[in-house]
Amino acid sequence: MKYRFALEYEIDTPLAIAVAVYLDAEHYVFLHKKYSDTYEVLWHDLAARKIFIRETWSLLGFRLGQTCMTEYIPPAELRNYDIKPHPWWIPSIHHVMQTTTRLVYTEIPERNSTLSTLEMELDMPFWLYPFRRWIRKAIERLKIEKDQQDIDMIERRARLFGRENNSIYLADHQFILHKQDYLRHFGPNSKRLTPAD
């Protein structure tokens, strides 16, 4: 049984910064180490903008986690799917529930800020369906907490370097995921394109 919901809110930062922060994978296991402290690339097809990853965390002395396909659809859409528990034998909701997430950032021109829209589709067995709202709340809480860490980083950088300053993400030496695509859309010579273009 499918259960869909969306979580939407405004992030007070330009679209170029919101996307850059997401693609800045170097912060994942440090700023967000409370949630997962390892990140491994298991497979990638950069031409297709797909990266298959494994993230793990420690719980009660055990190391557990999940594998997940991540996909970037320029300029500002990010998808996660094929989420499986790791190691495969641990009890996990992902054994019985398929989760697909679609995160879309949209520019709010009048405030030069960003609308963050997370669409989730949970495909679960009938016996889990009565718990769907509880699962939804847990997912939303996690998303809001992690986003708040990013927002704190964005706000501090805005104070130090300026609100629209994405120069570090554009710098030759700086690594971010799918950098060529990011530059095409948000670099100094970028032409804003829609996915259809």
Binding site: L31, V41, F175
Partner: protein, 139 residues
């Protein structure tokens, strides 16, 4: 008796660091006046005073992790590891974590990475107070 910094008054930030209040081996932040906060790490007979922003992306070094054994400071944002004695970047762990994705391209040239270094601040100790200089480098 009132203690005051040596030399020209404007050579130092107005508010000194009270050494008695510091905890050994712990990253602490102190307001030295004029809205400037510095990170202070006392360790043994050494005192490290540095700018509160990571030279990489401006991360809050007041929340950094200090390793006494290695004498390193890890930025909480991207894990960059700095030598507190020299300020030099000692390690970027992402070079290993993201190794398979970090193939150099036209728009990613890791060999051009700047020599990131902590901004160490000079200071002068008088009695139980350390006066932080407006200039870089340790005294």
């Amino acid at each position: 008796m009132t203690q005051s910094p040596p030399g020209p008054a404007d050579a130092f930030y107005p508010r000194p660091i009270e050494l008695r209040d510091l905890h050994r081996g712990v990253v602490q932040v102190r307001d030295v006046g004029e809205g400037v906060e510095v990170v202070v790490i006392p360790d043994g007979d050494k005192l490290y005073v540095l700018r509160e922003a990571c030279p990489h992306m401006g991360g809050p070094l007041s929340q950094a992790t200090y390793c006494r054994k290695d004498g390193t400071l890890e930025c909480p944002w991207h894990g960059y590891l700095f030598d507190v004695a020299t300020g030099a970047l000692r390690d970027n762990p992402n070079e290993r974590i993201m190794a398979s994705l970090r193939e150099p391209t036209e728009c990613f040239r890791p060999e051009r990475a700047p020599r990131y270094a902590l901004t160490l601040l000079a200071y002068t100790v008088i009695g139980d107070r350390a006066y932080v200089s407006r200039t870089r480098g340790r005294e």
